[in-house]
Structures are given as C-alpha cells and as structure tokens.
C-alpha cells in the first residue's frame, strides 16, 4: 500500500489499510462481502440461540462478580425482612444481595435466567427445523452431532446454573441429580462421592458446580459453537429449492450489508425481548423458597422447562427395582440414565439411521426438502415430538391433576397409556398427511444438476448401490 495511492481518508479506511498492510486481508476478504445467505425466517433460529448465548455470557460475567460459591453459614442481615437473623449459606446470601442490594442485579439475574430458557428453546426449535427439512444429511452430519452436543451442554449448563443459589429449590434439584448418579450399577456411589467430594450434600459441591458453570461448560460451548460456525462457513448454507437455487449454488442476500444488518437487527430484538422478560416477569424468586435445608421441601416443585422431560420420565416410570445376583438396579436407573441415554443416542445417530433406513440416500444434499417430501422421516419426527411433549407434561402431573380436579394416580395412569399409544398414532397420522400431500417439491430440483444429485427421495432407493465412496455425479458437477 503506497502512500501515493489516492484514497479516501476516513478513520475506517485507515484502519482497514493498516490491518491489510499486516494481515493481507483484502484478497480473501473480498469474497466474504458477497457470501450468499439464503433468506428464510427459519434460518434465523440458530442465530437466536447464538445471541441468547452472548446475552448469557454478558449477564453471567456480571453475576459472577457478586456470587460467592460458599457453603459456610452466615447470619443474614440484609433488607429482606423474612430472612433477617437466619443462618444461611454465604452462597444464598450473595444471591440475595445480588437481587436486593446490587443495582440492576435482579434485572441481570432475571435476564440471565430467561436467556437460558430461550437459549435451549432456540436450539431445540432450530434442531427441529434442521430435522424436518433434511438439513442434517450428508455433508452436514458433523454439524448435527455438534448441535446435539451443544444442546446437551446447554442443559447441563442450566442445571449447574440453577443449582448455584443454594435455595431450597436448587438444593432439591441437586439432590435428585446426585441420586441419579448414585443409581449407576457398580460405579454409582463412587461417581457420586467423586462428584461431590463425599456423601451428599458434600463439602465442595458449590465450588465445583460453579467451576463447571463458569469455566468448563462455557469453554465447551465456545469451542463447539466455533466449530459449528466454521463448518457452516466451509459447507455453505443449505437452501430451499425454487427460483435460481440449485444443488450447485447458493442464492441469497449478500453478507454485507444485508445479512450483517439483518443479524444485528435480530440481535437487538433478541436482547430487547430478553430485557423485557427479565424486567417484567419474575423468574426463580429464590427469596421465597428460603435457604436449602436437606429435610425441607415444598410442593409443587417445577424445574426449568428443559428438565421437564427428565422429571416426567422419573414420575411416569413404574416402580421397578430388581435385585439380581446381589446387584440392585435402582428404580431411577432406567428413567434417569438408560432412557435419556438411548434417546440422545438415537438423536446422535439419526443422520446415519436416516441414510440407511429412512431416506436410503447417501448422496450430498444442499437443497432442503419439505416435511411432506419424506413422510417416514416426518412421521418419526412427529412421534418423537409427541413423546417428549407427553413426558414433559408428566413432569407437572401434580399441578395438572389438581387443575383438572383429577386423581393423581388416574392422571399418571392415563399419561402412561398415552406416552405409549399417542406417539405412534401421531406419527402415523403425520405420515398419512405427508404422503397424501405428495412430493410435489421433488420436481423443483435442478435439471442441470447431474447424476440425479438433486432432491427427490422417490429416486433414493437406487442410490444404495452406489455406495458412500462414489456419489454419482460429483465429478460431473465440478466440470
């Protein structure tokens, strides 16, 4: 960059030039200005998750400046009258101080909690979008797996987070988590002791949860989100067929300025909604719950929504406890460890299940399908949603029973029947509907895309023979 060049002299230009002098950015950067972002509202769901995560980090840092992960007892002398003079843990005291004495502390705490709920929700809805449009298919299996790992981490982050205040509700959640760990045959008690530093309630519990919550899990989240985005950039976006969209191109808004401004706008809206929720809608009013005492409990108790499915499984599962050859399988082992493990295992394996048995298609796909284009996948997806919705509902069976004026036993019995009967039924209905709508979308496929590399699951079965190593038409697509 010579100074003789005639150039406009704004500070931004100067900075850009300064950076390019040192990093040689212009060459590679130019093509990113015009990177294409297919425009559809459903492609923004993942961004909402990302923006919620940013809000979580920002508010979380603020909270961490005040929170003290300490079990030791102190006498409360803050402004909240009902607890004055009581001995409570330093951790609980610090959360109360944060809520009542630190300016904007309650706002930050509530935004943080709401953002956590929205974060997990956005991940789940984004995942459903990816599922029903077939966006997880080759070559995007990796990002499906990373996304699921992010969901798992988000749930663990939420659990460790609401266990920190050391109020009555958080302590109870922790107690259940510890019991689930304990139920693992052979190693359970050892795992539990290693986890808490001794028998429940442990001595180092809060410190460890805190470290997990503010260091280990966020590090994992940052790493996985980065990988998710890098892979996304490398593979480019999927797009809906139609218009100029083809298997071999990406059609959309340019990264700059359109997509950048759209994303900034969405970011601002996400923060706005979270601020409104955090400001106006009370969440987790932990001063009402009182300090955690292992012998105290209140009812009804509800965990955060994303734990509801686990809670529901534990409530619905029959009291099966066996002892075989001197080994007891505790009642919560199946609903607390095995079933969630199987569910997540199936979800992780889905891209491979899909290519082997559902779509029977191992080719590379960049065009999305509509749910109707693959009735079987849609049916299975709907069955899965129904199942998870029902067990989540069961997580509030006591509240629902009293709302309906129904006996708890009766309701639980009904929910058990429904979780077995309804998912296949709903899946079948979805399958029928999807099948009757027909795969009209398959014709949208790009006629120029060679070797049948375009969409259309109807043509899929033949592709089984081609094998994963020789996707038909790839060579031709390059020419």
């Amino acid at each position: 960059m010579s100074s003789s060049q005639k150039a406009r002299q704004s500070p931004v230009d100067d900075l850009a030039r300064w950076l390019d002098d040192r990093l040689r950015l212009a060459e590679g950067g130019r093509k990113y200005l015009h990177k294409a972002f297919p425009a559809h509202w459903s492609f923004l769901l993942g961004e909402i998750a990302l923006f919620s995560l940013i809000v979580l980090f920002a508010t979380g840092v603020f909270l961490a400046l005040f929170y003290v992960p300490d079990h030791r007892l102190v006498v409360y002398d803050g402004p909240y009258v009902p607890l004055q003079g009581q001995e409570i843990s330093a951790a609980y005291e610090s959360t109360l101080r944060l809520s009542f004495e630190v300016r904007a502390g309650l706002l930050m705490r509530q935004i943080h909690h709401w953002a956590a709920l929205v974060f997990v929700a956005a991940i789940v809805v984004h995942m459903l979008r990816v599922f029903f449009t077939g966006a997880f298919r080759r070559p995007r299996e990796l990002n499906w797996v990373i996304g699921l790992a992010l969901l798992l981490l988000a749930i663990v982050a939420g659990f460790t987070g609401y266990s920190l205040p050391d109020d009555l509700l958080s302590g109870t959640g922790l107690r259940i988590g510890y019991s689930v760990l304990l139920s693992v045959p052979f190693v359970g008690p050892l795992l539990g002791f290693i986890g808490l530093g001794g028998e429940y309630p442990g001595t180092d519990t809060l410190g460890r949860l805190y470290l997990m919550h503010v260091l280990i899990i966020p590090a994992g989240l940052v790493g996985l989100v980065t990988a998710h985005l890098v892979i996304l950039m490398r593979q480019k976006h999927t797009q809906k067929p139609g218009g100029r969209a083809r298997q071999h191109n990406v059609v959309g808004e340019p990264l700059f300025p359109n997509q950048v401004m759209t994303s900034l706008s969405l970011f601002a809206f996400t923060v706005a909604v979270l601020a409104l929720l955090g400001g106006l809608f009370e969440i987790n009013p932990l001063w009402l719950y009182g300090p955690y005492e292992p012998f105290e409990v209140f009812a009804p108790m509800q965990p955060d929504w994303y734990m509801g499915w686990l809670e529901g499984l534990m409530r619905l599962w029959p009291a099966w406890e066996w002892t075989m050859f001197g080994v007891t399988i505790p009642a919560i082992f199946l609903p607390g460890v095995v079933v969630p493990g199987v569910l997540f295992g199936l979800a992780f394996a889905w891209p491979w299940i899909d290519r082997r048995w559902i779509a029977r298609d191992e080719r590379e796909h960049h065009l999305l399908v509509r749910p109707r284009d693959n009735p079987l996948r849609t049916g299975i997806g709907v069955a899965g949603i129904t199942f998870v919705a029902l067990i989540t509902l069961a997580g509030s069976n006591d509240v629902i029973a009293s709302d309906l004026g129904m006996g708890l036993q009766t309701l639980t019995w009904w929910l058990r029947v429904l979780t077995v009967v309804l998912p296949p039924l709903a899946g079948w209905v979805a399958y029928r509907i999807a099948a009757s709508l027909g795969t009209g979308g398959a014709e949208d496929a790009d006629p120029a895309s060679p070797g049948g590399d375009d969409e259309g699951d109807a043509a899929a079965p033949e592709s089984l023979e081609t094998g994963s190593d020789s996707p038909a038409g790839e060579g031709a697509a390059r020419s």
């Binding site: 070559p139 008690p189 028998e199 808004e253 106006l280 406890e321 399988i329 697509a477």
Partner: protein, 306 residues
C-alpha cells in the same frame, strides 16, 4: 410525440416514487434511532438515581428494540433486498487432489514409513499414550473418597435421644395422633442422612406384624429420605396414613412399614426402632432397618451391622 416521451416520464415518475419511499423509510429509521437514544439516556438516569428493576428492563428493551427496528427498516426498505449467487462445489476433494495429498504425505514421512519399523514405533507410541492417559486419571481420584460404610449406616445409635430440628429432645407425650415431626439424633442435629420423621398414629392403626422395628404407643419413626431420588418425604396425609414425597409423588403407608402404595419409589422407607429411656424421652434402639436414601447397586436389605 407523446409516444416517445411517455416511457421516459413514467420511468422518472417511478424513480421519484422510489425516492419518496426511501425517504419515508429513512425518516422511520431515524425516529427509531432517536427513540433508542432517549430510552438509553433514560435508563442511565434511572440507574443513577437508584434503579428500578421493571423500569430498567423496559427501557433496555425499548432501546434495543428501537435499534433493531431501525436496522430492520434500513436494510429492508432503504437498501432493499438483493440477491447474489455463489457457486458451490461438492465437499469432497477431486480425486487428483486426494491422490496428490496422499503421495505428498507419504513422501514427507519418508524414512519412517519403512513398514516394520513404523508399525512397531506406532504401537509403542500408542502404548505410551494409553499408559499416560491411565496415569493422568489419578488426580481425578483425589476428588472424593471411596464410599465406605456411609452408605449403609447413619449416626443413629442405640440409646441416643430423638430431637427436633431446633435440638429439643422429645417425650412421648409431645406427639399427638396424626401429628408428624422431623427428628434427628440429639447429638447430630441437621445431619442430612440421619433425618427421620416421627409419626403419631391412632390406637390400633399400626400393624405391628408388618413393622420390622419397635414403636412407642402408636408412634413410629421412618427415614425421611425418599428411597426414590432422595427428596425429603415431607407431606403427611393423616386421613389415609400416607407419607407423600413431593418430588415424584411416591406415597408410603405409615401403618404398614412405610411400604410403597403408589408412585415410582422402589422400596419402602427404612424404619427407626424407637423406645423410651428412664426419663421418658424417646430414644433410638439402633440404626434404621436398612440403608436409607435412594437405592444403589450393592444395597442390602438388612439392618446395618447385622
């Protein structure tokens, strides 16, 4: 004459209308940003003058929402939709590139690729890695002790008095029928795994044959830790004689050894055998009838120490 001028003037007209639309959009965006500025300054004032959660939340929301709206109007209405098309190639590298890479890789390895030697070294390296991995597990072992007797025993011993959560020792007369009270060993108040619930029942309600341990005048004592997932079994329905756990609604029959009536718990609540001492205070006659709390793999259904 009109025939040649009409399209030109129509184009000019269209262009003028578009300008107007853009101007209008620009005004809307400007208003949005002004709103954001006002809300942000108001937030600043509210904060400095003492803060108020709801107001702060609303102002923060308005400020960010207005920025979002302004940007949205800007990009949608002023800049307008644009479409670019990017080429896309199959993710898999072309075959020649793969082959070239492979050749270069083997070239680079050079000497070390001599089959026998390389495999031998690789195996040893793998062995070193595995051993190191094993060795590095050791620090994790420091995180907690090995479970010993804690899982099987509690601090209850023969002769120790029952006390409530405040540490007051309890006499038989203190408990009336249909009353429940949380008790601890008098010398270990608040010990989480020793927590027990003392239930007063009416005459004849208890079924002594079903009970593994001793009771005192219709009073029976059970572990308060749910055998399902460890919540305190805190709710008592006196009419039915049922203890209810609020976590997943397991219910236990107080009259019949706290056996599970309904819910997901796999076994009944362990019983604490109780008696009275010379001064009339309630005492434990030993530890619980079996290990307390949620079940675990090597659980035994015997009283500790037998």
């Amino acid at each position: 004459m009109g025939s040649s001028e009409a399209p030109a003037s129509r184009r000019a007209e269209e262009w003028r209308r578009q300008r107007e639309r853009q101007d209008r959009a620009a005004r809307i965006a400007a208003i949005c940003f002004v709103v954001a500025i006002v809300a942000a300054l108001a937030l600043f004032v509210v904060y400095v003058t003492g803060g108020q959660t709801q107001l702060e939340g609303v102002l923060l929301a308005v400020a960010f929402g207005a920025v979002g709206a302004g940007l949205a109007v800007w990009v949608r209405r002023i800049i307008g939709p644009r479409e670019v098309v990017e080429e896309r190639y199959p993710m898999r590298s072309p075959q020649e590139t793969r082959d070239e890479f492979e050749a270069a890789y083997h070239d680079a390895l050079g000497e070390a690729t001599t089959t026998g030697r390389r495999r031998f070294l690789l195996r040893l390296l793998g062995g070193a890695g595995a051993s190191l991995g094993l060795a590095l597990l050791v620090p994790f072992r420091s995180l907690g002790p090995t479970p010993q007797d804690e899982m099987f025993t509690t601090t209850w011993r023969e002769g120790v008095r029952l006390a409530d959560t405040e540490g007051r020792e309890i006499q038989a007369a203190d408990i009336s029928p249909d009353e429940v009270i949380t008790v601890f060993p008098a010398d270990a108040i608040d010990d989480p795994s020793a927590q027990a619930i003392l239930v007063g029942t009416r005459e004849g309600q208890l079924e002594p044959d079903a009970l593994p341990g001793a009771t005192v005048e219709g009073m029976v004592c059970y572990s308060k830790i749910c055998t399902h997932a460890g919540c305190p079994v805190g709710l008592y329905r006196a009419a039915a004689g049922e203890l209810l756990c609020p976590c997943h609604q397991s219910t236990f029959d107080v009259h019949r050894a706290a056996a599970v009536v309904s819910g997901p718990a796999g076994r009944g609540l362990p019983q604490l055998p109780i008696g009275t001492d010379d001064e009339g205070y309630l005492i434990a006659l030993g530890d619980f009838s079996e290990p307390v709390g949620p079940s675990f793999w090597n659980l035994t259904h015997d009283a500790p120490g037998t």
